[in-house]
């Protein structure tokens, strides 16, 4: 089944808004979403599955008085289903309580310009094409080391579109593509099993390197064998891309959200203008990043996405806002209203949270460490204390660095600390930035991390 045309999907959203106003809403906003995804899946060493998933629907917010209602449906082919959604949203608004801080939906502003977010080639990929890509990845993995077993993985190609219409005149459509390939591996040798190692690439344009992904996933697993325990002591730690994402997602990335700040749930409350990180740290939330995984013309409320400086040379400059939290402080939204498709009302999320890389190569970073750890992945970051930033995690994929060289793989090492103290102890950033979900980050060297070994 082909994708809906821009006119079709926008006119559905327009109809929903008009009908809601006619039925008594003071304000209305419709967000329509469509996702067409083709994947092939690798399971236990072979390509064994292929799927085609079509998901589309419309979510509608209505305001009656200052009370907000929301309803969604995935049946959007006829007007009757939309009409039913409208009456549910109105009913839900009437059942809800007025919110005195509500100051209306946003008004129209020119949408931003984005680069490299759509690639026709990706829309045209057949399951056979994806099987070919997956095979290249698998073969690269098998060739690298015979002790490695590709547990799971796959290749996926998606077309996604989003449309927004509100009663203040916002009316927009944006379509984009994503292609990704990933491989999870374990290595086994004389009774030892490594943790699961994972590598992937995701891009908006069709330029992924499945051979690198396969080989790298295998290299990691093979070099995770013969893991040893380490002593309990404080040491220098290099956090690689995934580990940074795991540690920051539930801590720093929540702490800069305006709703967390306004509700007293953020350790960064009242700290704009203060030093919150080492002076080498600069972070932008860049909703317009060239080819960014979360780059769109407008956010989940139809506000143009933008580049916002969060931390500049260690100093906190701004939080992330949606329209509601911004108006509460008499500010402008930073375009960070996020939607999980059509199923939810918007909430604040980072777009492309970009930690600016430094000058040193990853090899140079390693070579300057006398004794430390290189941590690729941690386990249990979601059990951090998100309010205080305290974390206590296991380094699941890590290597000991001794005298500037990787000495051996490490098992069972726990890392404990406070993420906000850790930000101040960052002493170097590598030059190897990459995109990991909502994050763009290089490797990060932290001076003192408490490592609990044995």
């Amino acid at each position: 089944m082909a994708a809906l045309k821009e006119e079709e999907i926008v006119s559905l959203a327009e109809f929903a808004v008009q009908y809601a106003l006619k039925k008594g809403a003071n304000e209305a906003e419709a967000f329509a979403y469509e996702g067409l995804t083709t994947t092939v899946t690798i399971e236990r060493g072979q390509i064994a599955k292929s799927s085609r998933i079509i998901d589309r629907g419309l979510g509608l917010r209505t305001v009656v008085g200052k009370a907000i209602g929301f309803s969604y449906t995935n049946i959007i082919k006829d007007k009757a289903a939309i009409e039913e959604t409208v009456s549910k949203a109105l009913k839900s608004a009437k059942a809800s309580k007025p919110d005195k801080d509500w100051q209306g939906f946003p008004s129209k502003k020119p949408f931003a310009k984005t680069k490299n977010t759509f690639d026709e080639t990706i829309c045209g990929l057949s399951p056979e094409d994806l099987v070919k890509t997956a095979s290249i990845m698998l073969e690269a993995s098998e060739k690298t080391d015979r002790r490695v077993f590709p547990v799971e993985g796959g290749v996926g190609a998606s077309y996604l579109s989003r449309s927004i219409v509100n009663s203040n005149g916002i009316n927009g459509f944006d379509g984009g593509t994503v292609v990704e390939c990933s491989l999870a591996t374990v290595a086994q040798e004389s009774g030892e099993v490594t943790p699961v190692c994972f590598e992937f690439e995701a891009e908006r344009l069709y330029k992924i390197d499945p051979e690198w992904v396969g080989a790298e996933a295998a290299r990691q697993a093979a070099s995770a064998l013969k893991a040893k325990r380490v002593e309990t002591k404080s040491m220098q730690v290099i956090f690689a891309h995934f580990a940074i994402q795991q540690l920051l997602y539930y801590t720093l990335m929540d702490a800069v959200k305006a709703d967390y700040v306004q509700r007293g749930r953020s350790a960064l409350q009242g700290k704009v203008g203060e030093k919150v990180a080492s002076e080498i740290v600069t972070i932008h939330d860049d909703g317009l990043l060239d080819g960014g995984l979360r780059t769109w013309k407008f956010d989940g409320e139809g506000i143009p996405q933008q580049k916002t400086t969060i931390i500049e040379n260690g100093v906190l400059r701004s939080y992330l806002y949606d329209n509601y939290t911004a108006r509460k402080e008499d500010m402008e939204s930073t375009g960070n209203a996020f939607r999980a498709g059509y199923l939810s009302t918007p909430h604040i999320e980072a777009t492309n949270f970009h930690i600016i890389g430094g000058k040193k190569s990853p090899e140079e970073l390693i070579s300057e460490i006398k004794e430390g750890l290189l941590v690729y992945s941690v386990q249990g970051a979601h059990s951090s204390n998100p309010a205080s930033g305290e974390f206590s995690v296991v380094a699941t994929l890590a290597w000991k660095i001794e005298k500037g060289k990787i000495a051996h793989a490490v098992k069972g090492a726990m890392l404990a600390g406070n993420i906000f103290a850790t930000l101040k102890n960052i002493s170097a950033l590598a030059n190897n930035e990459r995109k990991i979900g909502p994050l763009v980050t290089p490797w990060v060297l932290v001076e003192k991390i408490k490592v609990v070994g044995k």
């Binding site: 064994a48 309990t232 009302t345 204390n385």
Partner: protein
Amino acid sequence: MKDLLIKIIEVAIQRFGAEYAEARAQRLFKTMLTVKEEKVEAAKEGIENGVALRVLVNGAWGFASVGFFDADILMDAVSHACKMAKAASLKLKNPIKLAGSKAIEDHVPVKPKRNPSEVPVETKIKTTLSIAENVLGYDNRVRSCTVDYLDLVGTNFFINSEGTRIEQDKLYVWLRVLATAKEKDIFTFSREEVGSTAGYEVFDVETPEVVGERVAKRAVNQLRAKTPKGGTFPAILGPNVVGVFVHEAFGHLAEADLTLSGSVLMDKLGKKVASESVTIYDDGTVEGAFGSFKYDDEGVPTQKTLLVKDGFVVGLMHNKETAKKFNTQPTGNARAEDFRVEPIIRMRNTFMAPRDYSFEELVEDIKFGYYFKSFRGGQANLDGTFQVGIQEGYEIVKGDIGEPIRNASISGNTLETLHKVDAVGKDFELWPGRCGKGQTAFVCDGGPHIRVLEVLVGGGA
């Protein structure tokens, strides 16, 4: 609906040469609420209708999911699914085979005392607001409270090419409360979940007062807690922590797909992996529990599956594909979150069976150690490394429960730790939760209090 799905399955088999085909149709109605402090964010209601088609052609799987019930769209989707399977089979080394299961025809209605679909939204708003009021009113150091509520009511149709035709009603009620407290520079955080497949009557027991106090009290008590020492200590794990341990640290390794992927259990079947006081079940039959259902999403009846008996691994959790590989029967663990995804092996209600120790007997011999009462997240890896974050814990000093601790987490190797379980209590609790494995599944886990001779405790900074 049934007739259309039967026809679609026939087309897959007869026209496209599928060896096996199944259709799963879902009509679902969800209500969601979020309360932040005294404010209700938009009450949300939604419809999610759709069909998932899964076919096995030339030994490979094809899957298609569409949000439509129209005959022509479904015909198109089934042809697509078969084409997808043929493409996937191009590089196949070992064709997939399935364990057969007997044909079942059944209609499974739900029988709640209070059906959430008949409870007005106003009442649901009142309940969630009242929880927030109870949390915030407990102590002025409680700074924020978020309550998320979800109920889901609907029907699933399951038809397969082996003659199974099941119409099964679904009902879930779930709620999560998060609270933070602050005093000077100390931030604490507390979390609770409520979940049931019985009905809205779950809130007659888990009242706003009961739930509110449980969350708020913990957040406030943590303010005066100290950070634990890092290192290896004896520990008592409460039922809530035992639950997440048997689920995360052991259960995932015993999901046969992960066992086959190389989990540390692969060469341990029939062998001793734990002390003899350890017996572990995954049970889909506990009435009203959050992980219970009658048939799984491959049309297989659920059951009470014995995984570990007196320290020996005696079973795994299977779907039809892994059951065939292990030359055994599927255990009813194949679950799909919704019509957008295919069924995979998931846990249901996973627990350690109680024995005969009282709490006092467990604690009395410990000179210095920790009592870990309630968890905040846990995770495990195929190599058996686990980590469980602790949201409520205490020191044990000379056989007595002492000062509270905060931000602890425990870690270790699952099998080593299971061998170190030296005493198992006689009490029992089951806690609702949600498990993520690419998809979300509603589950319970639990057990009695247990004593572990040593566990690695990651201290605070």
